[in-house]
């Protein structure tokens, strides 16, 4: 299947093999409809910078769907796919999921094989997905997660039954809010929405009133 990474340079490129994620999806019975749009080589946050054409937000065609995996997010939001996949290096699944109102997951680094995936920044890239609800997101993660000897950064850890864990809810989880994520230049509307969401989570997770933490390593991702 043609794989362009959103670039005209790869306009006619058909890879000689499937990515591990695609292999696993096919084995799980997935029916693949096609490939979705993204900012060229995943470098962008709006899907306006695809080499082919911009993608629109299906909720309001005058707005962007986010990016870089905006095509997948928009396809799921518009009911043009049951689920969608992408990669997230610095928000490229989580941010378009938020813009389009679908569930987005960036799995822990190493959880999902990157074999056969076009890289942006190999030490941060991770394959993830968009689902219509949390249960779907859990099933999709279960389908693609797991060790792959063809990706040396893939971790050897058992894959939990994510969907079976869901009924346990969020009680007992620890909510962490890294100070480093609340930086200058944050859009006031964004900050208001984030802080409102934090209050909702604090209500759901007992004992989470003191949830500030620090991630001093956050100085380094930009140079990674």
């Amino acid at each position: 299947m043609r794989t362009t990474a959103g670039s005209k340079i790869l306009d006619t490129f058909v890879p000689p093999y499937d990515a591990t994620v695609v292999e696993r999806l096919r084995a799980a019975g997935a029916v693949i409809l096609g490939k979705t749009n993204l900012d060229e080589f995943a470098m962008g946050s709006s899907t306006e910078h695809s080499g082919f054409h911009p993608t629109r937000n299906p909720w309001d065609l005058t707005r962007v769907p986010g990016g870089s995996s905006g095509g997948s997010a928009a396809a799921v939001a518009a009911g043009m796919a049951a689920g969608g996949f992408g990669t997230d290096t610095g928000g490229s699944i989580r941010q378009p999921a938020a813009f389009c109102g679908v569930v987005g997951v960036k799995p822990t680094y190493g959880r999902v094989s990157r074999y056969g995936v076009v890289a942006l920044a190999s030490s941060l890239d991770q394959v993830g997905h968009f689902g219509q609800d949390v249960t779907d997101a859990a099933h999709l993660l279960g389908a693609i997660a797991g060790h792959d000897r063809r990706d040396s950064t893939s971790i050897q850890a058992p894959v939990p039954d994510y969907a079976a864990e869901l009924p346990k809810g969020v009680a007992g989880l620890t909510l962490g809010l890294p100070d480093e994520y609340f930086i200058g230049g944050m859009d006031p509307d964004v900050e208001r929405a984030v802080r409102a969401a934090i209050e909702v989570l604090k209500g759901l997770v007992p004992g989470s009133s003191r949830c500030r933490c620090r991630r001093p390593g956050m100085r380094w991702p930009r140079t990674t």
């Binding site: 029916v31 905006g70 095509g71 049951a82």
Partner: protein
């Protein structure tokens, strides 16, 4: 038909209320109707998708009459859909 999550589709396949081919056709029809405006797709593999759906349907088909008594006992169909 298709405006439901995957786990609901899988349940519908198991009950025999929907088939993978019908759902794949419905998704392709929705892409035809909407993607001219949203432009989410770069490549659509219509024939490959329908072939994969037919293959899925073959795995999900109700069991043949000769084997039906075991299926009745287990109250299930031989279906590949496991949620994802």
């Amino acid at each position: 038909m298709i405006q439901q999550p995957i786990h609901a589709l899988a349940d519908a396949y198991r009950r025999g209320d929907l088939t993978p081919t019908a759902v794949a056709e419905a998704y392709l029809a929705r892409i035809d109707a909407l993607d001219g405006r949203v432009r989410a797709y770069l490549t659509i593999v219509r024939e490959q998708a329908l072939a994969a759906a037919r293959e899925s349907e073959r795995r999900c088909a109700p069991v043949p009459r000769s084997a039906r008594w075991t299926a009745r006992r287990s109250r299930s169909r031989t279906c590949c859909a496991r949620g994802a």
